[in-house]
Symmetry: none
Subunit: 236 residues, 2 copies
DNA sequence: CTGCGATACCTGTCTAGTTGTATATATTCG
DNA sequence: CGAATATATACAACTAGACAGGTATCGCAG
């Protein structure tokens, strides 16, 4: 009977609710079952509407958790994505960052080689997520030589930026010695944390930073969401 | 969204950590709660991964105490891929290259802006494929300002390298003014020419090269097969 | 120093709720 | 008929929270 699919009107209603501020960025929508009851349709019809909204970047669904609102449609036109032009030299200094794990453990062979410490030496590993405008931009994993930087663990816990933490440990300045860049598909957990599809293209940078004397102080790996980030190399 | 269960990638990550020596036999893994935070998932999902590892005899969990590592995995699949370390500065000078198309046409708006020529001005477009060891490594598309480089088309046809062709047109030397790097999934034709899966991660670099006077002489886009290439940035 | 209790933390288990996926079926329209 | 739309049902995967049972650690009394 309806020549326009039912789900389009549900999408319009929900998008309108978000636009009017009934559901705001970060809020959880009611469950699919609840929405289905509200609109008097089957859950799959609601899912069709939510899928369209997710495609447009309006909401993001997590299995088990609910559906979260990402943006107000007025702020971010549908289909338009946030573009982030980042200077590679400035990597590590982003608007917001979440630290998910901070632990001390043994260095792997590769990490030990990069940091020029003995294999199995203590290293502080800091993992987390960088965000901009509420959207996840990158996952990072930084490894610091614990013996070379006493107190780095506490410093990382207390201050927000890596630079500042290193300053606390006596490293006034540091530079990148090398950076390797590769493109890799996202695995399941990476995809979930970056809110992209599994298998989406990630930009992985692996770097070693050294202090003015040339001694390695950090070994970092960052996975950028390829669809949201472009790295820009400054002309030396 | 995840066609592979989340916990499998967690199992892979932890098994990899053990294989690389971050956690050694006898060590205690971080608590389930800490791991859940690190991977951004629920504790139960971590437990599922740990259960699989315990099943394999890799770790042992004791109630109240933590999870201890028993031994290194005897067999851990490390993606054995051809690795190509390339200096970004040298991009565009590869062992072998196939020119698939060479034509003169009008510049698009973006190309005109990058090359600092009038929109619609004549440009020479060179497209093709770079190979190493018989394997396709990258697709390239270079755009040259035809009026600024008289005879560039013939030069490109006759000599193998871009550098040499530019020398013929009076550009003794050139440097990169800017490089932008992004990760993008491969479309069907790119996938076919690079011999990778459709949707595989590609590394796209967009650059502008200038002569010693700072005048743009080339605007290039290169798509590297992410699984075969690692770009290495040299320390300036 | 030893022994012991308090406490914080960790794993094991359970219940409930939510999204993702697969299959089957009815209805409508061209 | 065939395609698109919507419904119905069932199960798998993940999240959330709570609680029980076990362990390690630390301070403190003896």
């Amino acid at each position: 009977m309806p020549r326009t699919p039912l789900w389009t009107s549900i999408e319009a209603a929900l998008t309108g609710d978000i636009a009017e501020g009934r559901y705001r960025a970060g809020d959880r929508l009611p469950s699919e079952a609840a929405l289905a009851a509200r609109f008097g349709v089957n859950r799959h019809t609601v899912r069709r509407a939510l899928a369209a909204m997710a495609e447009a970047g309006l909401v993001h669904a997590r299995r088990g958790a609910g559906v979260t609102v990402l943006h107000r449609p007025t702020e971010y036109p549908i289909g338009r994505r946030v573009r982030f032009h980042r200077n590679l030299q400035a990597a590590g200094r982003l608007p917001a960052r979440e630290v998910a794990a901070l632990e001390t453990c043994a260095a792997s062979e590769a990490e030990a080689a990069a940091l020029e410490v003995a294999p199995g030496a203590h290293v502080v590993v800091c993992e987390g997520r960088s965000l901009a405008d509420g959207q996840p931009i990158a996952l990072f994993r930084s490894v610091f030589p614990a013996d070379r930087l006493p107190g780095i663990g506490d410093a990382l816990r207390e201050v927000a930026s890596v630079t500042e933490a290193l300053v606390r440990c006596g490293v006034a300045d540091y530079t990148r010695r090398s950076t390797r860049i590769a493109a890799r598909p996202a695995d399941a957990t990476q995809a979930a944390r970056l809110m992209v599809e599994e298998g989406a293209a990630l930009l992985r940078t692996v770097s070693v930073s050294v202090d003015p004397a040339g001694v390695p102080v950090e070994h970092g790996t960052t996975w950028f969401a390829g669809e949201r980030v472009t790295l820009t190399l400054a002309e030396p």
